[in-house]
């Protein structure tokens, strides 16, 4: 294994700038790592389930990535001025459209579909001259919390291969935590960046709604979806946010305000005294009860560290948060039912003819949707269709929107008393693959309890590693939330705690992660599925 892959993006930038290493070397090292650990043959589109590896990638594009790397190296050699992250490779969640590479949303519905256009964040990544390694796995159309709902096989957690990597963005979280990519892009509708970060021991950020363009991000729930960085360090997340953030005239909901400075804030937060005087609010409703013991222990430890660094800890209440999950699943599924209506076999993607009987448009649409969507997608489409139906709209969608307003007010009130809010990111560490796919889907939904409120409120959150739970040795995440537009504050606070924890552990948490290649060698893939 090439030790280059353990370097953070910020460290790679330094080495690139000093010409100590080339982008080609970096890119090749990550491609080799993907080849060695993902069970993915490079430049193939083999999406068969149960590959002998992490299966973080649905598609890799080695040639394209290396070509960009070569161009960057040449440009640097020629003394050209380059964007900050030029030459640092990145992985992109397969919910974001990319011209020249497949985009599937991990659904049979889009198998083989090639987007004729780039999403805005894709364009920004290209403009930043970052080699795109490939597209990462997810729950179908980002619907799920475990990546088990991908049509193309589960992604495995590098800390324990029989465990979920979180979801929906398990692929992006695993790609960075298993050193397949220094950076990745994810999307977060109810925790799809943060919960995978928590259970894989990595960093994930859901920015303020509107901070990053959604143009070219396959919509799940438009009023909640937000693109964000998946990384191993807070500073890297800040650097990536600066690349992809900013106003986009193609997205009416995008914020017209300056981007950053995020990296500068992250650097400042990590210095001694960076957290002094910070008021940290512990959310009463998201503390203690219903959270795994090891999660609570690591959370409390972090709070003690913050206190010791001069932060002031207060307790705040978000009374409406109890209703958040219910409101979230109604609003999200309502928007899903409409956003996913376009997948009907008429214009693109899968088209399935009825097996018998007349071939009418209704029957083709119906056969296509029956064959193309997985169970979780169907469940949410049906739930949302019901919630928007005449006679039920007020009771379901209408009430949910009222709860949303109350939650927004709760956050506004809480931020009167503190600068950031804090809670565990997820109630448990990574559970076993298959544990929650049978029976009651509510079991999986409950894992989103701490993450969905911030999507409903539109406020930014970051999840960083808080250590390993004593009972299972698996990563625990801690989540900070700031008022809308105050993303910079999160990078400052996140980097501050990260520095304190790394100092306490003597190394980043990932240093404790088992060697992935040995894990894969010893794992019985046949049995775990």
């Amino acid at each position: 294994m090439n030790e280059l892959i353990k370097l953070s993006a910020a460290e790679l930038v330094e080495k690139l700038k000093s010409s100590e290493i080339s982008s080609v070397e970096i890119t090749q090292a990550h491609l080799d790592r993907i080849e060695a650990t993902d069970g993915q043959t490079l430049d193939s589109a083999d999406r068969s389930a149960g590959k002998d590896g992490l299966n973080a990638f649905l598609h890799t594009s080695a040639q394209q990535a290396l070509q960009v790397a070569e161009e960057v190296d040449r440009a640097r050699a020629a003394g050209e001025e380059l964007p900050e992250l030029a030459g640092v490779p990145i992985a992109i969640k397969d919910l974001i459209v990319t011209k020249g590479q497949p985009t599937t949303a991990a659904s049979r519905m889009l198998e083989g579909w090639m987007s004729p256009y780039d999403g805005t964040v894709t364009q920004k990544v290209r403009a930043a001259r970052m080699p795109i390694l490939g597209k990462t796995n997810l729950d179908e159309f980002a619907m799920g919390s475990s990546t088990e709902h991908s049509a193309f096989g589960v992604t495995r957690n590098p800390w324990a291969l029989d465990r979920i990597p979180g979801g929906s963005g398990g692929g992006s979280a695993v790609a960075v935590s298993a050193f397949q990519a220094p950076l990745a892009l994810g999307t977060d509708t109810g925790g799809s960046i943060r919960q995978p970060a928590a259970v894989t021991g990595s960093v994930g950020v859901k920015p303020t709604y509107g901070s990053i363009s959604r143009y070219g991000v396959i919509a799940m729930a438009s009023s909640l979806d937000q693109v964000g960085p998946c990384t191993r360090t807070v500073l890297d997340a800040a650097l990536l946010h600066e690349v992809v953030g900013g106003y986009d005239p193609k997205d009416s909901t995008s914020l017209n305000e300056p981007v950053g400075p995020y990296a500068a804030q992250a650097r400042e937060g990590a210095t001694e005294g960076g957290l002094k005087g910070l008021r940290v609010g512990i959310i009463k409703e998201l503390n203690g009860d219903g959270f795994q013991a090891g999660v609570n222990a690591r959370f409390n430890e972090s709070i003690d560290l913050l206190k010791s660094a001069g932060a002031e800890i207060v307790e705040v209440s978000l009374p409406s948060v109890k209703e958040a999950l219910g409101a979230y699943y109604l609003i999200m599924s309502s928007e899903v039912s409409s956003n996913l209506a376009k997948y009907d076999g008429v214009r693109f993607g899968l088209r399935k003819l009825p097996e018998e009987g007349p071939v009418t448009i209704e029957r083709v649409m119906s056969a296509t949707r029956a064959a193309g969507f997985g169970d979780e997608a169907k469940r949410r489409i049906i739930l949302g269709t019901y919630a928007l139906s005449a006679g039920y709209y007020d009771a379901y969608y209408g009430s949910a929107q009222k709860v949303r307003t109350l939650i927004q007010r709760d956050y506004a009130a809480a931020f009167e008393k503190c600068d950031v809010l804090v809670s565990p990111t997820a109630p448990t560490t990574a559970y076993k693959l298959g544990e929650k796919t049978e029976g009651d889907p509510m079991a999986m939904y409950l894992g989103d309890i701490a993450t969905v409120p911030t999507n409903l409120a539109g406020v930014p959150s970051i999840s960083i590693p808080a250590g390993l739970a004593d009972e299972d040795g698996l990563p625990v995440g801690i989540q900070f939330t700031a008022p809308a537009h105050e993303d910079a504050r999160l990078y400052r606070v996140g980097a501050g705690l990260e520095a304190l924890l790394n100092n306490k552990w003597g190394a980043p948490l990932w240093a404790q992660m088992p060697d992935t290649e040995s894990l894969i060698r010893d794992f019985d893939f046949g049995g775990a599925k």
Partner: protein, 501 residues
């Protein structure tokens, strides 16, 4: 199979009609409602599209600011209140002409509400029609049903979709129920749609061509027994694509409703399709108020916010309203009530205005547009403007007459040649050698011949019967193939015979 209908007169004796209209106006903005694909009619199918018009995965809509301005202008012209904040919503239904399987429209918070317009019928009677709302939405693509005999979806083997029209900006204007039109209901229906067409054309916000579907009308009709006030069950007639169709369709539905009600049956609330060929409606799909489109606020768009400064600026830009313009032109031109009404009904107002502006007198402009050009338009069944005659044609023809280069009869021939595309009147006169024979020498020879051929007539004239000169003039005109100035010929004849004219 035709349905039973009552005679219109009998229907009117027993029932009062209630009307309601939903008129869709396609805007003539450069780009579509929510993306920058060109808004052009008649191009090769599926060329005026972008990923957004096709609803590809990941795309987002952005509201066309020009379309919002058009909506505000129309709202103001209809006397509506303009909302400070209005929203878009999604109307969800599966149909292949709608790329996203939902239409982005305005639902409970439209941009314009509560207006009214005065509709003047041909005899000058004025009805006030109340406008409930005017809201913005997007058009659907166009389906072409192939392989069947009817061009309809029933019996078709397959259908082709053209998304060029998908996303074209629309404004839907919805009236409140119109009560009290009585037997004039069909006429009012036509006049209402004509007025809307005139208004949007005058505002310059739509090409307003009904034959292209720029203005489309859904006509709601219900009847209530005379003397009652509770509205009956309504039907909504679609596919009425000309002013004539609107009038006929409303008339037909009134007669059909009356027959159904008379037989003791109930009207089915449904969509009816108008067929101009048979001049009947047939049942479309049943439509109930419970049609569930699962409307909800469009999460990809932010509210449309207006302010008084913007609205007042647009109000200041509004052109003169058509009714006011008519009053002004009538006074300027000095036409009688009847003359002016004929001009309006013939759709000749614009042409006459342009012709007068180009230098002709109002009387001359009227003579041509209401005379020979109208006759040609009628024969060819086209609008005046579509004959190919222009203001310049009329001005030039008139100049040629005044300069005595041609006479009226020749001028009419020249007009035919202009319409046939042979060039300007002057060019045609030159090319075809149609100029009046004004060479007295040539005329004298022709007159001598005529006098010699008709000595008895010549004697009569000499004897003082001046009116007999007409026969000689006729003969000369014939000999010169009509190219002589008849007045001058007459003068020369009298001169020659030594008689005082």
């Amino acid at each position: 199979m035709s349905e039973e209908i009552l005679s219109f007169e009998e229907a009117m004796e027993k029932y009062d009609p209630v009307l309601g209209f939903e008129v869709h106006v396609e805007l003539n903005t450069k780009t579509k409602m929510f993306d920058d694909a060109p808004n052009e009619f008649g191009d090769t199918p599926n060329t005026n599209i972008t990923p957004v018009s096709l609803g590809l995965p990941g795309v987002l809509p952005v509201v066309n600011g020009k379309a919002v301005e058009s909506a505000i202008k129309l709202g103001l012209a209809l006397g509506c209140d303009i909302a400070e904040v209005s929203h878009f919503a999604r109307k969800n239904y599966f149909y292949p002409d709608t790329p996203k399987n939902f239409q982005t429209s305005q639902f409970d918070e439209p941009i314009a509400e509560n207006g009214s317009i005065d509709i003047e019928l041909e005899d000058g009677t004025v009805f006030t029609v109340d406008i409930e709302r005017a809201h913005m939405e997007e058009d659907a693509g166009k389906l072409n049903h192939m392989g069947g005999s009817t061009g309809r979806i029933q019996g078709a083997e397959f259908s082709l979709v053209d998304y060029n029209r998908a996303g074209v900006p629309l404004i839907e204007i919805v009236t409140r129920p119109i009560v009290g039109a009585g037997e004039r209901a069909p006429e009012l229906a036509r006049a209402y749609v004509a007025a809307i067409r005139e208004i949007v054309k005058n505002l310059g916000i739509s090409d307003a061509k009904m034959e292209r579907g720029n203005v489309r009308c859904d006509a709601n009709v219900s009847l209530m027994p005379k003397g009652t006030t509770e509205f009956g069950t309504r039907t909504e007639t679609k596919n009425v694509n000309s002013l004539r169709s609107v009038e006929r369709a409303v008339r037909y539905e009134i007669q059909r409703h009356a027959a159904v009600l008379d037989s003791g049956q109930k009207i089915v609330q449904e969509t009816r399709m108008w067929h101009e060929d048979t001049r009947e409606t047939t049942a479309g799909r049943p439509k109930s108020d419970a049609d569930d489109y699962r409307y909800f606020p469009e999460p990809d768009l932010v509210p449309v916010v207006t302010d008084s400064e913007w609205i007042e600026r647009l109000r200041a830009e509004l052109p003169e309203p058509p009714a006011e313009r008519r009053r002004r032109l009538k006074a300027d031109w000095g036409y009688s009530d009847e003359e002016f009404r004929d001009v309006v009904n013939a759709g000749a107002m614009d042409a006459i205005e342009e012709t007068v502006a180009a230098g002709a007198s109002p009387a001359v402009a009227r003579k041509w547009w209401m005379g020979e050009i109208a006759r040609i338009a009628k024969v060819r069944e086209v609008d005046l403007a579509e004959t190919g005659a222009t203001a310049q044609t009329v001005v030039e023809l008139n100049q040629l007459i005044e300069q005595k280069k041609i006479n009226d009869k020749i001028a009419r021939q020249v007009l035919e040649f202009v319409i046939a595309g042979e060039g300007s009147p002057a060019e045609i006169v030159e090319k075809r050698n149609l100029a009046v024979v004004s060479d007295d020498g040539a005329l004298t020879a022709a007159i001598d011949d005529a006098l010699a051929a008709m000595p008895d007539v010549a004697d009569k004239i000499r004897g003082g019967k001046v009116q007999a000169a007409g026969a000689i003039v006729g003969q000369v005109m014939k000999a010169t193939r009509g190219q002589a100035d008849a007045g001058r010929v007459r003068e020369l004849i009298l001169e020659k015979l030594g008689v005082e004219g």
